[in-house]
Every structure is written in C-alpha cells, then in structure tokens.
Symmetry: C2
Subunit: 230 residues, 2 copies
C-alpha cells in the first residue's frame, strides 16, 4: 500500500499551498518514496484524528500515522534509510536549526504577503475557521496584517539576507546537493509561489536561482504543481 | 614553531574580548592544536599586514598567514584534518549558515549591550579609532546605540529564541558534540561575558546551560580566561 499524505488544499483541490506539506512532499521525492496525496481542508479534522494531530502534514504509512513535518522527516530517515534527508546526528541538528529559522523568521515575514491570498482561495467551509484562528493568533485582522505590502516586501528581503548570502557561494543550503534544510526553506517560498504564481525574490538574486533549481528537482515536481488563479 | 594567533586585547592585555577571535581559539582547542596568542590592538595594523587583513583573528602558521575566522576554520580543517570542526560538505555548508546568523543577527543584537563596555576597557591608543569606525558604521554615537539597555535585552532574547529552542532538546547546536556552529555562537556570548563577567541569558534557560557547558570545554579554557573588571 502506498504511503498516504494528507495535503492541505484550496477550494480547487489541485492547489496545494501549505509550506509544511511542501517540506514533506519534497522529502518524499528526495528519498524516491512513492506516495499518494489526499486533498485535505482545515476543517477536515476527523480524517486525520488517528494521527493525534489537527493539522497537516499527516502521513499514513500502513497502520502508522505520523504528524508534523519535522517528525515526518525523522520518521522517513529512520524507516527508509536510503538517500538520507539528514545523514547523521550533526547534520540533523543543524538542519533543525534551519528548519526552526524558517518557522520563526521566514514564515512570519511571509504572513503579510500570504494570508489574504490564502483566505481568497480557501474552500468556503474553511474560511471562518481560518480567519478566526489566524486573527486570534495575530491579535489583528487579516486585512490589517496584510495592509502594508511594501513594508512586508522590505522586511521579507531583510530576513532573506542570511539565505541570500549563503546561496551566493553554494548551490544549496546543504552544499553541492539539497538536504532537508533546503526543503524547509523551499516550503516557505513555494507557499507564496502557489498562491500568486511568483515569489518576492529579485530576479537577479541567488535565492531566485536556488528557487528555480528547487522547482526543477525530481522531474520538475514542484514546478508542475498547479498554482492558484486568483 | 607553534601557531600564532593575533588576538584582540583590551588595555589590560589579559582581557581578550573579540567574538571572532573566540571562535578561532575554541576551534584550535577543539582540534587539540597548540598555539600561542599575541595580544593585538585595533591600531596595530602593521603587525598583521602580511595577512592582507586589517582585523583579527589572524593566524600565522609557519610562513602562512590566514585572516578571518571563517577562513581560518576552513584552513584548520584542511591543514589538520583530525578532529574536524566541520566534517564534510553538508556540515560545512550548514555551519556557514549558523556562522552567518551569528554575524548578522546575534552580534547586531549584542552591540547595544557591548559597545560602550568595549570602549571603556580599550587601550587609549585604540579609543579614537574604535569610536570613529563604529559610529560611522552605525550612523550614530556609541552612547545613542547603547541608550536603551532594557530594549536591547528584550531584542537580544527575541533573537536568541531560535537557539533557545534548539538547545532545549540537544546538548549542542551540533547535536551530541560541539561543532563549529557552537563556537560561532559561543564567540558572540563570550564577547559580552568577557566585558561584564556575565551574559544576558536567563539563569534557567537552555542557552545558559549550553553556555556553561561551553565554558567547561577543554579543561575550562574559556571559563578560565580573564574578564574585564570595570
């Protein structure tokens, strides 16, 4: 039985925008593991209840359920050791650092650029849940969060300076080949790319060239994924 | 002939406070390489001229001169492969990410907590140079940079959240054992520790426990280093 990935979907079930699900999809492709995705909406809590989580990504591998993109990456390397995402304790620890940097800094910087676009493409049944949960977390409306797009762009580029510097001298965050750190950061960028068909990266930036390389990996897997047509 | 490290010193030549020199000293200890340090002041440009750099750390290894803490780390792993600081391309690339995060985010957050204390302990011949170069870089006076210590503490703790999260589940940024990423971050913290005898880390934080472990490494090498008595 193929591995099943519950993958966050828009009203159009072909549009899969979750940054965390993108980490998992790229990790599965990296390892060459066959999988099927099931489109999942924010309010489909029952479908993933066996995992103990109320959010995706959730993986069902036979009778095993694994939730959370980081836990899934660890699980994949343990259950399927070939083509490791993170080869050994030191790499795993350092990848966790980059993964957390994406969670804490990058995704935060992308929220003002992404949240209203997410809201616009959601299935109707998800809209109330999404607005309420995000506005509670942020302490302000989606509209206020996304009010100043110019400022958001500037702050995003500031946060990206670190990755831009790294990628100016190497192909991937993992050096000559991608590792899980690359998939963590790629997920963030693929989030806004799926929403708008583009990213805020400058066309001549090292980050842009890296992003294009990432889109091309595994027979253009991410490049061929449908984006939203707003 | 032992390796020579030109090491930034205060008026009291026993007080060595440079975050970048601390990276190099910990790296040398990690590898078990014997070295001697020469106290160096900001205005001693002639002494390190053969390196092509006007700043320390500078290493003289026989007739080779190597400047810049990152370049020195690469050199040490190449010239002395045993006990690697960064074992392989992936670890090296990920350590560079953490190293740059320390340069860009951590040291910037520490400046308002450190710069006036640095100025206070400098050799008289360095004071004009230090004030002018830093004030030009920052676009404001040292006093204005350091005016709001409470805000600086808050911002520092915010930046540290990423490392705090990592170190809550593992002994070192490198996992079970320290790697160069740990020395990069340690250098930043040892900077303020050398200036004040303490750090802004909360006593019950994972970062504090990590810092104490780092002070203990290599027979308490960093713990035994003199701090400033202001």
């Amino acid at each position: 039985m193929a591995i099943i990935l519950y993958d966050l979907a828009a009203a159009d079930e072909c549009v899969r925008f979750s940054p965390y699900c993108w980490r998992t999809k790229m990790a599965l492709r990296h390892k060459g593991i066959k999988f099927e995705t099931i489109p999942w909406r924010f309010t489909d809590k029952e479908a993933i209840a066996p995992s103990g989580s109320s959010r995706v990504p959730v993986l069902a591998d036979g009778d095993k359920w694994i939730a959370d993109s980081w836990n899934i990456a660890l699980y994949l390397d343990e259950a399927y050791p070939e083509r490791p995402l993170m080869d050994g304790d030191t790499i795993r620890s350092l990848c966790k650092f980059v993964n957390s940097w994406c969670d804490i800094s990058v995704n935060k910087a992308l929220r003002p650029l992404a949240l209203l676009q997410v809201f616009a493409i959601l299935h109707d049944k998800d809209k109330d849940y999404f607005r309420k949960s995000r506005e509670t977390m942020l302490g302000m409306s989606l509209e206020d969060t996304c009010a100043d797009q110019a400022l958001a762009q500037t702050e995003f580029i500031e946060v990206m300076a670190l990755a831009e510097q790294e990628l100016s001298t190497q192909l991937y965050l993992g050096g000559d080949a991608p590792c899980y750190a690359d998939y963590a950061l790629f997920g963030s960028l693929k989030w806004v790319h799926t929403l708008s068909g583009d990213t805020p990266l400058a066309s001549d930036s090292s980050m842009r060239m890296w992003f294009e390389r990432m889109l091309d990996l595994y027979d253009g897997y991410a490049r061929n994924a449908p984006t939203a047509q707003i």
